[in-house]
């Protein structure tokens, strides 16, 4: 109902909505977490301290979960249907990469972690190919 009060101070909101209003996306975020996984696995292998090794497993699983999270956000928030035409294997790439992140979470296989990095680099190429650095980063990707 329209009243003077609702005119002066509308309580009803209509959302011109965006899930991430900042619009900042970069596969680098996933890559840094994946690099952590690889380094942690190497440190695990080099150590014989059971306590340290237990910490390695714990932290690696957290990091691998973050990789999945960052990839998911790129997949369903940044990439849009028009990108599928440009990159027909987009879904396949993300599906494989997130599965690989699960594998890294479950295992202590440095090879699996390296494979994950290669998959994230493939996502990175699609992000760059879609104009990601200019569209989503402030002044492009630094460096």
């Amino acid at each position: 109902m329209l009243t003077l009060r609702s005119l002066l101070r509308p309580t009803r909101r209509v959302h011109a909505h965006c899930d991430v209003p900042c619009g900042v996306y970069d596969p680098e975020q996933a890559r840094i977490e994946a690099e952590s996984c690889l380094r942690i696995i190497e440190k695990y292998d080099a150590s014989d301290d059971p306590l340290f090794r237990a910490r390695c497993i714990h932290v690696k699983e957290e990091r691998a979960e973050l990789v999945k999270q960052h990839l998911d956000v790129l997949w369903h928030d940044y990439f849009k249907p028009e990108h599928i035409e440009q990159f027909p294997d987009l879904h396949e790439t993300f599906w494989k990469a997130t599965k690989q992140a699960s594998k890294v979470k479950q295992s202590l296989d440095a090879g699996a972690a390296r494979e994950l990095l290669a998959m994230i680099d493939k996502v990175d190429q699609m992000w760059k190919g879609s104009g990601g650095p200019d569209k989503t980063r402030v002044n492009g990707r630094p460096g």
């Binding site: 109902m1 329209l2 003077l4 609702s6 005119l7 509308p10 009803r12 909101r13 209509v14 959302h15 011109a16 909505h17 965006c18 899930d19 209003p21 619009g23 369903h76 928030d77 849009k80 249907p81 569209k135």
Partner: protein, 138 residues
């Protein structure tokens, strides 16, 4: 045009249309409804900006279905207590395809899917705030 008249004219327009419509509403009975809403988010820029206050009406979409290029207020399919404002870019099989005017900053039918016609009851009619941009919305 002096800065002063530059401010006064839209202010008068805003107040005038608002008062006029409020009177029309009071006289018009309960069938036709107007409401005031505030815009949040940037996905409809430059048409609508955050903080814009709009009058929305519910009679147009009783008379006819939303058409391409119409602005619509719809329930968020993911959260019924929330309303979205978007533009219709396509219709088929009783469903609407919605987009933000700023597609790069918009969550719309590309991720939400198409929206049933019945979800669109309200149509933005005019902006009454801020006064400098008051007027009809297209």
């Amino acid at each position: 045009m002096s800065p002063r008249t530059g401010l006064i004219r839209p202010l008068l327009f805003g107040l005038g249309t608002t008062a006029g419509l409020a009177t029309a509403l009071a006289a018009g009975g309960s069938l036709r409804r107007l409401d005031a809403v505030e815009v949040e988010g940037r996905s409809m820029a430059p048409t609508l900006l955050p903080g814009d206050r709009l009058l929305v009406e519910d009679w147009t979409f009783r008379r006819r279905a939303p058409a391409r290029r119409d602005l619509v207020v719809v329930r968020d399919p993911r959260l019924a207590s929330r309303e979205l404002v978007k533009r219709v870019v396509d219709m088929s099989d009783g469903r609407l395809e919605l987009r933000g005017d700023a597609p790069d900053q918009s969550t719309d039918s590309r991720s939400l899917g198409s929206i049933p016609l019945s979800a669109a009851r309200w149509r933005p009619l005019l902006r009454y705030w801020p006064p400098l941009r008051a007027g009809r919305i297209r």
